[in-house]
Subunit: 132 residues, 3 copies
């Protein structure tokens, strides 16, 4: 089983919460216990787990990443999106979340975010579940 | 099976080795071969695998992360811990280690560290094992 | 089943694509569907998934990482390779890739790279597969 989600991003840098979309997939599989893998098949986007209560947190993450890895910095790649590739490798392109009682098990403040670093674009997210 | 470990941290930034605690859980499960997932259910902490022989290594990692992501940098999040959220996404909130012969299989110098970025706090670490 | 690959690096910083080596292992196992874990048992190297079409992308990633984490920065670790340990924790020491129809399933531009941060050296990569 491999499930695919489609996401449209609207800005050059944008974190979009996909927790509910992943939870829905887990529910449909009826798997009680296991691990859910969420994988981004792109090289200028990433995926991360962070706070989903106060939106200023993910705004600060985006702001600071753009300081740490500037959009322009004498890169050699001619497409002009090297900073997005670098951020993708720093943040990573997959996360895993435990499944307990047919539900994703998060810490109190955790949600899953697709990290757009070279938008706007149409993006895919792949999901696979391994039973315990 | 989901196991939970409790850790108390004592400083704002602190890496605490938890290798032996995870190894003990693996032994108790009697699983011969598989993968052990270690997951931090927090958004201002992380988890990493790095050298556990010379403590100066993890001190250097902490020092440099605090340079790359300053504690104060015109963040908008009002709780004053944005740098911790950013470091959490850079380091990541889970790692996996292979299990062979009912033992975690590490490289020579590797150990697992809980990364506190907003302490002191009481933290949890969740562990799940998938049999091969 | 744990498979080991040996890689020789030739520069202090070097990303070496290992996609085909991992694909070959997957084929030989004859596993149709599952997850392939690729784990680096070193603390001064890492592993990442990024673009394998235009080599300037991985050159830019290496260049920028060396700016973000300088080789020399008043580190306390006496071996002179603290920057490599720090990069290892930022990039991470494992990735996972889905297996579908006995083949690694990548996005269009994705490949797997061993990230040497303290070469030249002889490195190992460990591979384990979990069936779905």
């Amino acid at each position: 089983m491999l499930k695919e989600i489609s996401i449209t991003t609207h800005r050059r840098t944008e974190f979009i919460e996909i927790t509910n979309l992943i939870q829905k997939i887990v529910r449909e599989t009826k798997v009680d216990n296991g691990i859910c893998y969420i994988y981004v098949p792109h090289t200028t986007a990433g995926i991360t787990i962070n706070e989903n209560a106060d939106r200023s947190v993910i705004e600060d993450i985006q702001m600071e990443l753009n300081k740490i890895v500037p959009f322009d910095d004498d890169y050699s790649h001619s497409e002009g999106n090297s900073s997005a590739h670098i951020k993708s490798s720093l943040i990573g392109n997959s996360v895993c979340v435990f499944i307990e009682n047919n539900s994703l098990k998060f810490g109190t403040w955790q949600g899953i975010f697709l990290c757009e670093f070279d938008g706007p674009r149409n993006r895919k997210v792949w999901v696979k579940i391994i039973k315990e």
